[in-house]
Symmetry: D2
Subunit: 318 residues, 4 copies
């Protein structure tokens, strides 16, 4: 693929900062970058589904096809996953090589900058649509890029009241723009009490956990109604003590771990929502930069900038 | 309940016309009317959940509570259902008596005219939300009032392209107002061919059958994709020949019979969508009349008027 | 109801021991006992579903009927539950009074001693059937009475290999009798390693957590396959630290809190399994005693006896 | 693959008889046979999942991998399916060539004759497990080989009472051996009335339609309870008139078209049930013959013999 635009993920920031996880996982030299869109430059001989010139993105998780999970149609949690941009050379480059089965051909109606962030948007769609959402009250804990997208997806899919918690002021402002009904700063007020009050003491139907923060997770569970769904995408860096009796068992709650995107049900859903114009993600996009200016871009994101920065290895769009 | 507004259902037209079904089912004298909203006038001694003055509507199907279906939480298909307005005196009256368990207390934020049509809106919500809808392509066959509501509900809940078929020109115009993306007149064009063309040969994910017309049902199945869902609410008056092999079995399709509204999951979903302002049903409402002018209202509906007419037994709203 | 047989629950032991939870919850004097069978002695005037002489058991959770959960068909997690035998006088008595809606009429084909333990059997059935079970590998952590019943239910419903962990030797022997394929003593061997080895490194499809023991819970999650289901019924007495990233999120696992029995879907399922003779629970039954000998019975259970003891307030069976 | 045993399917009989369907579909010369087991003789260079000597069977439907259904994980209803033994040379031969992704490696614990009929057993498992089965009453209409297998699978997975209808006496006797509780001859008695009587007027929870006979289908729907599931696998040769109002819509029934086997969830379930010894299919097996005696075998099956005949291209088993 000739890369048109690639987007920086939180994971890329971890690797750039060379933290403990990165030191254990990454085997340099490797080209990073797993969120992108581009155009097929050349297709292998036996490839039937795409051809040179096609506008595409791709699922960067490569599954083995024969483990128990692959056989069950759960390829996104394959026992032998390899990730392009982590285990193999990725999209922060002029070109990136991707197996045909992982390519996702795009309708040209989908804008290029949206096409560059389908990987995280897929995380959001996977999380929101992992259970009933129409007519549901929702709490999104954590308004980083994926949390913000989840707010837009939940609203587009018929959720009723959407609550969100976030300590960063800039992100709260963005959450508002994405359609949040009630945005709360848990550092400044008792978010759980507020949510219970607004739901007549019942709590929310759905918790979408996007922060990975242990306190946010615990508060999220306290704000969840009996019989509710908690879908966890955010990644805590340590063990989290849970009040299982009161927050899960007596509540009859359902807790779902969410990883990646379903291959390829999530891509189908996401593309359908985009094509139909149901998602306005414009507030998410920050700056655009030529790939060689990557150091500035990483620095700005490390400084806490919300939103997504797009890198252009083959020239900025006009 | 003191009735504020009551709405005329297609079933009421059948009874008014005293057709064969009515002659077999109705035992006069009985007061008709099963779509309404009102205010609690007086509550029984042991009633805890509502009190005088509450703004309410009601589920008019009374279930027995002890048959197999009631025990399974499927009270809407109870083996011993009785219907207020059919088997017992209904809401085309100043007052109507309803068991406490069937009363649905309403948020005052819900407009009175919307509150009067929760029964058919519940049919629509039940049908649309009987399976996945977010990101799905949808075909609604038949744009009577419930079909029109289903279009609005499907759009509010994240469906992508909504197709609708309808031979009546006035109803096609209303379907457009409710948000239909592609409205087709099956009397004038090959609707199935058109839908297949617009979906790249695949067909729609979801068929919402609202007409009861055998030809529409057959065409609907032809337009359904392999693996799709067909939810049938419309009531055919005769046996319907189905090409089970090609339209259901080889397709791996799922066909659902839809009756009434789930008690009370559908009411919860419907109320949530209304409170959140996700449904614009304004185009549906036709005239309003004092109850004593009912003959005119029935005549207009028998003449093929689309939309809902509201009757007011206790005075027109200001 | 005239009580024929009543069974002692672990909860009754907690109350008998007057632990902290009991001191906070129980308001003496109250007659305990919430597992029983009997015969209707007299029915209220308006009661249509049962009559004097009927052989019955009952769901002892009384739900309010109008909270959010009741409206959603989730009465077992009603916000205003009251429990007969905890909040109101129960079945360790000659007679017990129960609302008609809670009575469960029994086929006389169901043996009396089985009929006396439908409450805990319902817990087991609710847990096992909360997700797919046919063809699934299963781990039951904790072989108290409900764990033992869960083993029998899982086997009857088509599970493939059933693993169980239990430190008590007597209970391990009983687990074997109930049909466990691989019974492990986690105090003596590395149960997780063993289960992973026996499943080709994949882990089990389903975890049924019946112990409430934090270590067992943690080990259960480690033995669960990616994409698996963990259904938690056992009640930990403290907060449990969970490795959410590796055990839930990256695994794409589904965790379910299980409380009580679904009203009345679980009763329908349980009765059907019993009537069809699919469950052999005979190894579970220990002694039988006249009610006035209750002190001995409680003492034996506190001493760690496995199985259920039945008390007879109206005379022992011949 | 070196074929060890291959089994004759009803489809093979249609082709052997060269009926209208066969004339339209088959392009001779082609080797038939799509039910088999064997041993990998040689694996392609890039094949990682199997190797020479592995004991295997295979899914004979080859899916395209890129149509809408393939992307949704519904490969069994791929828009571009090709079938080995129909569209390409099959297993009535010493060797058969099969794409690696379609090979299913078998545990040597699975007996060879069982391994040869995984294709139709998969149809049965797919049908039975397409919805809840534990504790359900079941009606199997039609006791050909797949109907007989479905009876065994339903019992193994916890169904309560299993009814079956069949006009052929020999097949009724086999249905009894497979575990049917109530076997009915619809040519000699009113099967619907009998089933309603035995279920207290309610009807069965699940209809498994295995006959393709229009009358059996109509009767099956009449015997289905409100809210029940009808899973249709049998293939009618003409359009079937259905009383949609009373049998599907007012009943709130769910009707499922079942085709093939889910790739590869059904294979996982089926293998697990077999490995655990939950299915006794021995009564199903009729004669065994060397492949060159195929004419006799086809003649016997055309004569109405129940059960499966196995053909051995590489020598009969000792």
């Amino acid at each position: 693929m000739r890369v048109k635009a690639a987007s920086i993920c939180g994971t890329d920031l971890h690797i750039y900062g060379w933290d403990r996880w990165s030191q254990g996982r990454i085997r340099p030299p490797v080209t990073l970058g797993h969120e992108f869109c581009g155009v097929v430059e050349r297709a292998g001989e036996k490839v039937a589904a795409v051809m040179a010139g096609d506008f595409v993105s791709a699922e960067m998780h490569i599954n083995c096809g024969h483990c128990h999970q692959c056989r069950l149609g759960e390829a996104h949690i394959c026992q032998n996953l390899r990730i392009i941009g982590i285990d193999e050379d990725g999209a922060f480059a002029e070109f990136v090589k991707i197996p045909a089965a992982n390519i996702w051909r795009l309708d040209p109606a989908i804008p290029e900058h949206y096409a560059a962030i389908l990987d995280p948007l897929g995380n959001a769609v996977h999380t929101v649509l992992a259970g009933a959402i129409a007519g549901q009250t929702v709490l999104v804990t954590g308004c980083g890029p994926i949390g913000l997208m989840a707010i837009a997806v939940a609203k587009a899919c018929g959720s009723s009241t959407v609550f969100a918690t976030e300590t960063n002021e800039h992100r709260r402002a963005m959450a508002k723009k994405m359609g949040t009904d009630v945005i709360l700063n848990p550092a400044a007020e008792n978010a759980v009490a507020r949510i219970l009050a607004e739901t007549g003491g019942t709590g929310v139907d759905v918790l979408l956990e996007m922060s990975g923060n242990p306190t946010a997770i615990q508060q999220g569970f306290k704000a969840l109604r009996a019989g509710g769904r908690a879908s966890l995408l955010g990644i805590p860096t340590e063990s989290v003590p849970l009040d299982l009796v009161n927050d899960v068992i007596f509540k009859g709650a359902t807790v779902q771990g969410i990883y990646g995107r379903r291959m390829f049900q999530t891509w189908v859903q996401m593309t359908a929502l985009l094509k139909a114009g149901r998602l306005n993600l414009d507030p998410l996009f920050g700056e655009r930069a030529a790939l060689e200016k990557f150091e500035e871009a990483f620095a700005r994101l490390q400084g806490g900038l919300a939103g997504k920065i797009l890198l252009y290895p083959n020239g900025l769009p006009r």
